[in-house]
Symmetry: C2
């Protein structure tokens, strides 16, 4: 792990003689950390205008979540608010702007976890839900299940009144170009290999990774939550499920330890239970979040993957680690600490 | 955890002066442990004939896997062989005999993990693959993905020549009866509740749980593997994905620590990354398999679930723990130790 490491300690002073519930609440530590994908863009390819667009969108997403926390709202509401801004932005690979699969369609994955109850919900390969993170929350709140896949998840969302859109809503010209490039690469590879190696081999191509979005939050009541949403990988196989809808792989939250969201080579995050392992290092080994996220990224590297992880714990400590050239990221904490960054 | 605990130590003596590769290999410890589901039947409901059928099927599945190990085959081949016998038997909730979802269809999940490489593969909500565990292995061996869901997984299996059957192949009269009972219960519950509580609330009903099948093995080369396959829960929501296709939740294998397969309330196995956590307790806390599986079952109970776990480590130690009235289970080790059991 050769790149940026950032750990901020929230040094909010807790008033020992708070006189009103309102004041007491306002003095608790809280905060939010978000990511908009790791390893998706090289500095050499980034224009000033595009960078400005990304920074603005990251700031909006972060502040949408922070506003929920500031007015005393819950961590679950905050991470959903932040993720929805990124799902609605065409800049990120989630919701509008999701990448296209091998068939040229968008199939999206999302999950959420509530650290208070360790309840969670996820949806996989959905095609019509405007905000997949809302559907993940629906699975958590309104069903006895944890993960729903395919058209049944779209149908559930519709029956509960979530916004449903035409599948074309998600597609952007930029993603179509990436898909064409991927298809060309795939065809070139196919011409030199047998059938067995062909199936979505491109999913691992670093040129075609386009990230994921996610958020982790600590609210004023001390609750943690995490949320992750993605379109997956360009030219992925139809029906491919990545780490983002899976608790333990892309998303984890447990009030006792931390909330975590990941972005990167999803298959490797599944094979290393990346998000859970961050918490496991804290739980079983007493690591801090910086150590824990570094250790997990090393483990992801040991099976050939890479990516990034964001985390927040119940004390308001945060970590944002990655081993890719960059990770779109931002945070805001109740002590006034705040940042938006893309590269190291 | 109030019920049966069984841990066997494999006491094979390793010859220090083995003279030929053949002899050396034959003296290495190896073995297999299987389960056919936890908490699925009460002793009071078990007839002598049915019990005999289950014991025979468990023995056949175990011995199919053991035969692979005995002739020097790999752990991955062994767990697949064992699981396929149970998938082909109408007695178990996997492959033929899978339970029916809310729409009266079979949607099956399976996964496999190779402890040597920590590679894995899974399929979710497949409807036409005769042996879902073969498809899970296909995903592991022939794609760059780890999990495929829905008709795309069926299509992949077909394109690689796996046996495809009509969806009716899986359905048995016994499962249809369970489904009718579940539907009645559901309708009764619906009449007294609002829409929000309705969605597959029955999935948690202990009367309607019907288990999962799984196997873990240690081969003569010292490699570990785990495999799990299921029809899910009776009257589950269409599109519901349980723990069985998810690495870390229902299945885990890592040569350094252990191989694990779970059966029980799948949602709670996902929320506790049950299979991974068994290995995490071994890795981070130095627990033995009995301690690790007990600790994980306690954690599953802490979120309201129950079930069972089987595990084997690289030394040939095994564990089969559960907190349900019974768990179909069997093992055979190269020291001659062997057992078939259902209740405590």
């Amino acid at each position: 792990m050769k790149h940026a490491i950032l750990t901020a300690l929230l040094l909010a002073t807790l008033g020992a003689c708070a006189t009103s519930p309102r004041k007491e609440a306002s003095m608790r530590r809280f905060g939010i950390v978000i990511h908009g994908g790791a390893g998706t863009i090289l500095r050499s390819e980034m224009t000033a205008e595009l960078e400005s667009d990304y920074r603005r969108a990251l700031g909006e997403a972060r502040d949408a979540g922070y506003a929920v926390l500031q007015r005393g709202g819950g961590a679950v509401d905050a991470v959903v608010a932040a993720v929805k801004v990124m799902e609605d932005s065409p800049l990120f690979n989630a919701g509008k702007g999701a990448v296209l699969n091998a068939a040229g369609d968008c199939e999206m994955d999302a999950s959420i976890m509530d650290g208070r109850t360790r309840a969670g919900g996820g949806v996989a390969i959905v095609r019509r839900i405007k905000n997949p993170i809302d559907a993940a929350r629906l699975v958590m709140d309104k069903t006895s299940h944890v993960l729903l896949a395919g058209t049944a998840a779209d149908d559930l969302a519709r029956s509960h009144g979530l916004a449903i859109v035409d599948p074309d809503y998600f597609k952007t010209e930029r993603r179509l170009q990436q898909w064409r490039k991927a298809r060309e690469l795939e065809q070139r590879k196919q011409s030199t290999r047998g059938l067995h190696e062909r199936v979505s081999d491109l999913a691992g191509d670093p040129e075609l990774r386009v990230g994921t979005v996610g958020a982790v939050a600590l609210d004023q009541a001390g609750n943690l939550a995490a949320a992750t949403s993605t379109g997956g990988r360009t030219h992925k196989a139809v029906g491919r499920v990545g780490d983002s809808p899976i608790l333990g792989a892309g998303t984890w939250a447990d009030n006792r330890f931390c909330a975590v969201s990941g972005t990167g080579h999803g298959e490797m995050f599944i094979r290393t239970t990346a998000a859970r392992d961050v918490a496991a290092h804290v739980e079983f080994q007493g690591m801090d979040l910086d150590q824990a996220t570094r250790a997990v990224i090393k483990n992801i590297e040991s099976v050939g993957g890479d990516g990034g992880l964001i985390a927040i714990d119940r004390h308001g400590n945060i970590a944002m680690n990655f081993d890719t050239p960059g990770m779109y990221r931002a945070f805001r904490l109740s002590d006034g600490t705040t940042s938006i960054a893309i590269f190291d």
